[in-house]
């Protein structure tokens, strides 16, 4: 009798846990889908005017192509502003993911990684503008990358000061950013 009661109790607790997980996951699906849709739109607008870059011996050609890619990407979204990709709902989701990574079971390791990665100061960032000149790209901890939605190869997440930046590698542009998303480690 005692054993049966215990089994039932365990089953009920497990069901509650799975149910709450499912709700939480469903709650996250909205912002993730919204984010991915916006990324798809960004890339399809960009691809219409993109230049296919190939390896070259000429740094001059690389510089020229990068400039052209930046200009075309900027022209593709002349009205771009902060929040186009990281909408309030998407930002809230990202902040929650970052918070849970930094304070989860692997948090101390991730925070140490951030401290050792040559952290950058908070600098003035602008959407659709070039990434600040000569500013290194701070490494992004792998555990954090595992907890954020995957990106196509053209884009990367970067940490600049306390901001999480969506960085367009081929154009060298800041696509969007969330200020204060990454608290000091």
């Amino acid at each position: 009798m005692k054993h049966t009661c215990r089994s039932w109790l365990s089953l009920i607790l497990l069901s509650i846990f799975l149910f709450s997980c499912a709700i939480a996951q469903k709650g996250d699906q909205g912002p993730v889908k919204e984010f991915q849709d916006r990324i798809d739109n960004y890339l399809s607008a960009k691809k219409k005017q993109d230049i296919e870059k190939k390896p070259t011996d000429s740094p001059g050609k690389l510089a020229q192509e990068k400039q052209q890619t930046a200009e075309k990407s900027q022209q593709a979204r002349p009205e771009a502003q902060r929040g186009d990709i990281f909408t309030p709902a998407v930002s809230a989701y990202f902040k929650k993911q970052i918070e849970s990574t930094l304070h989860g079971p692997e948090g101390s390791r991730v925070r140490a990684s951030l401290r050792h990665a040559e952290p950058l100061p908070d600098v003035h960032l602008q959407v659709n503008a070039k990434y600040p000149k000569n500013l290194p790209l701070q490494s992004t901890p792998p555990t954090l990358l595992k907890n954020l939605p995957p990106l196509p190869k053209e884009l990367q997440y970067r940490i600049v000061g306390s901001a999480l930046v969506l960085y367009d590698m081929s154009a060298g542009l800041v696509v969007d950013f969330i200020p204060g998303a990454v608290p000091a480690a």
């Binding site: 870059k53 390791r109 990684s113 490494s139 792998p142 990358l145």
Partner: protein
């Protein structure tokens, strides 16, 4: 009396000679242009501690090199002297290949010019990306042999090399690494990337999060040696989990007095720039680390631990 006069003449001659020497020295200093560095030691006087056996894999290693400063040029010149004597035919780069801006002039001043004798001799450079590199420009720059990718693999004789992008170790790259290490037929598996997994340097320290992600793969697939940069010193780390680790982040930059307590390192050097020579011959990896001054600061022979 005559003796006194003679001494006066002697003193005058010595004074003139000293002035002449000082002036010559001064004119040398005035030429402190990276392109006009003095000739490196002649090949006949080089201290060579790798075996130079037939049909081996022989390469050089540089890290955090791309400053365009005089020290980088002097290390490069030392490398050329060793290339002539040892015939290494490729170089692996551990990141921060071009510091600061990435204009065509920067590529020239911080890479093409210092390593011109090596490039002219057909030496190939294989780059990995550091935090000061521009991932898009450099992956597409042919002389870095990255094939347009942030991370890639290549094979030299019995050794398989894996150049990783430790700035951005996303799940896609981890999955690529898993697949490529699994399929690799190389007897020696060598990984190189910018951020060190173990590091006694005080400026940056080790990247523990990166280590947690890549080390299980290194162990599972029998990686034998790992080369990293980032910390601007040289370190040979105690072998961990049957893997040899080297940190070489001082081929251009230098962080003097950077070491704290020796927790991980067997050998450390933080008072000059340096580069490494490596030769893989059968089951042995021979290495020699050479300072800008020409002094050999570390060398040895390491057996392959994995079967």
């Amino acid at each position: 009396m005559k003796q006194k006069k003679l001494m006066k003449y002697q003193n005058a001659v010595l004074l003139i000679a000293a002035m002449g020497f000082a002036l010559t020295g001064h004119s040398r200093l005035a030429q402190a242009d990276p392109k006009a560095v003095p000739q490196a030691a002649s090949a006949s006087k080089l201290d060579i501690r790798i075996p130079l056996q037939d049909k081996t894999v022989r390469f050089a290693v540089i890290g955090d090199s791309g400053t365009g400063d005089r020290a980088q040029y002097e290390v490069a010149q030392r490398m050329e002297a060793y290339r002539q004597a040892t015939k290494f035919d490729f170089v692996i780069m551990l990141g921060d290949n071009i510091y600061g801006s990435h204009s065509p002039k920067d590529f020239e001043k911080k890479f093409e010019q210092p390593y011109k004798p090596l490039l002219d001799a057909g030496v190939k450079f294989y780059a990995s990306l550091g935090n000061h590199d521009d991932p898009d420009d450099e992956r597409l720059y042919k002389p870095f042999n990255m094939g347009g990718e942030r991370y890639y693999a290549f094979r030299k004789g019995e050794a398989a090399f894996f150049a990783l992008d430790s700035n951005y170790m996303d799940p896609k790259q981890l999955s690529w690494l898993d697949q490529n290490l699994k399929e690799s037929q190389g007897t020696w598996k060598i990984c190189f990337f910018h951020h060190p997994l173990y590091n006694d340097g005080r400026h940056h320290g080790p990247d523990a999060d990166l280590r947690t992600q890549v080390l299980p793969l290194f162990q599972r697939y029998g990686v034998n040696a790992v080369f990293s940069g980032h910390e601007h010193v040289y370190q040979r780390i105690k072998p961990e989990n049957n893997i040899y680790y080297f940190v070489l982040g001082n081929s251009g930059k230098l962080m003097t007095h950077d070491f704290g307590e020796a927790r991980e390192r067997v050998k450390g050097f933080d008072s000059d720039q340096s580069f490494m020579l490596v030769e893989i011959a059968g089951d042995k990896l021979y290495f020699q680390t050479i300072a800008r001054s020409g002094e050999t600061i570390d060398s040895g022979e390491l057996p392959r631990i994995h079967p």
